[in-house]
């Protein structure tokens, strides 16, 4: 029996890189020199105890936080050297996000939420909604498109969040505790769909989780302790 391999759709080269990233909040250091590389198409799980810095690392890699030292690179380009407008464009066109509680826009329907990233990228409305419906179908919530997010279960909301992340065909999906609010079975379905969608698209996934069963869906796992990558990779 073999460990799942990085899919054939992956091409060589590192898509996401952290080089000796340091980040503090006030006097409290969260990252003390964290370095990782994520090849194209790889699903990487970042584990670690609460407060270890794993979510901070994800936010630095996604250009949401600016590191105090070191650098985060996307496709070989340092995020710190980009203008804010460039970073925003990158987040809108190349990065997908899935968070613990979905963070869908509550005033909008599921279909609106999924179509929104495309509309922001100036895709025609009809095309955006058709693509959104396709993704909702693919994730098994095709019949929920007209529901507002408050009318969805936790598992359904996370599937909609995955559809929203994948609809722009991102190069990398950043997922922060995507199953954290779900029961075991719903969490399993969400991970199955997230990893399958990413594999089909050849997208990388940077997955932060404290649950080993969730991390086991990744191709590789690293552990963050006290703001550094430690231990033996699996």
């Amino acid at each position: 029996m073999n460990i799942p391999a990085v899919p054939a759709s992956a091409s060589p080269g590192c898509l996401v890189t952290a080089r000796d990233i340091r980040k503090s909040f006030g006097q409290t250091p969260a990252l003390r020199g964290a370095s990782i590389t994520v090849p194209r198409g790889e699903i990487l799980a970042i584990m670690g105890p609460s407060g270890s810095g794993k979510s901070t690392l994800l936010h630095c890699l996604a250009g949401i936080y600016t590191p105090d030292g070191g650098e985060a690179l996307f496709d070989g380009r340092p995020l710190g050297a980009m203008s804010e407008a460039e970073r925003t464009r990158l987040r809108r066109t190349a990065f997908g996000f899935v968070f613990q509680f979905g963070q869908l826009v509550p005033e909008l329907t599921a279909a609106d939420n999924v179509a929104l990233p495309l509309l922001l990228n100036r895709t025609k409305r009809k095309v955006a909604y058709k693509t959104a419906d396709t993704w909702l179908d693919k994730l098994g919530v095709g019949d929920k498109g007209g529901r507002r997010t408050g009318e969805l279960s936790g598992g359904e909301a996370q599937r909609v969040a995955i559809a929203r992340a994948m609809v722009i065909e991102p190069s990398v999906v950043f997922a922060d505790e995507p199953t954290g609010s779900l029961d075991s079975l719903a969490g399993e379905h969400v991970m199955e769909m997230l990893t399958q969608a990413a594999n089909e698209q050849g997208a990388s996934v940077v997955l932060v989780t404290h649950e080993p069963r969730v991390a086991a869906y990744a191709h590789r796992e690293v552990v963050v302790r006290d703001g550094r990558i430690t231990g033996v990779e699996a």
Partner: protein, 175 residues
């Protein structure tokens, strides 16, 4: 639970009499089941025969055999190899892992690194089982789930123990 390797590990702290080894074994690893004296001396005899310990001359005194045993370089190598090798990940291995962690701490060896190696072995096995779930029939998924939950429980223990190593080291070196 390997009695010979555990006794060897205890001997690596300092040369000891069989009686003292039995007392420490029962205190740390017996879990309510005492090691018979006969098994202690038979094990020490085999370890001496295999060059892993040396036995000093009999010392005067009452009670059972009064020889002081010391670990050899061969014995130390065996303990090192045993501690560093990850246990085959399977449910109910905590007793072996527990003994390894406790002995590593007693001997000032890198318990943290051993736990990391074990953690990686567990995650690799969990990755394999997750792949079984993806590709296999539901009955295989059920079996894989059972194993995954047990392995996850081990991993939580490994993580918690990693976080407590400093306190544990004090507990086993200054009982």
């Amino acid at each position: 639970m390997s009695v010979p390797l555990t006794l060897l590990g205890l001997l690596e702290r300092e040369p000891s009499h069989g009686y003292d080894l039995k007392r420490d074994y029962d205190a740390y690893f017996g879990r309510g089941k005492q090691l018979p004296f006969g098994q202690v001396y038979a094990t020490l005899g085999r370890l001496a025969r295999d060059g892993k310990v040396t036995a000093g001359d009999a010392e005067p005194g009452e009670g059972p055999e009064r020889k002081r045993y010391a670990i050899t370089e061969t014995g130390k190598d065996e303990v090192d190899a045993w501690l560093a090798e990850p246990v085959i990940p399977e449910p109910h291995l905590q007793t072996v892992l527990f003994a390894k962690v406790t002995l590593a701490l007693m001997l000032g060896k890198p318990a943290s690194a051993y736990l990391d190696t074990q953690r990686a072995a567990h995650i690799r096995r969990m990755q394999e089982l997750t792949e079984v779930k993806r590709r296999g029939p539901l009955i295989d998924t059920l079996l894989a789930d059972h194993a995954l939950f047990h392995l996850e429980a081990d991993l939580r223990w490994i993580d918690l123990t990693s976080a407590r190593l400093k306190e544990l080291a004090e507990a086993v070196t200054n009982p």
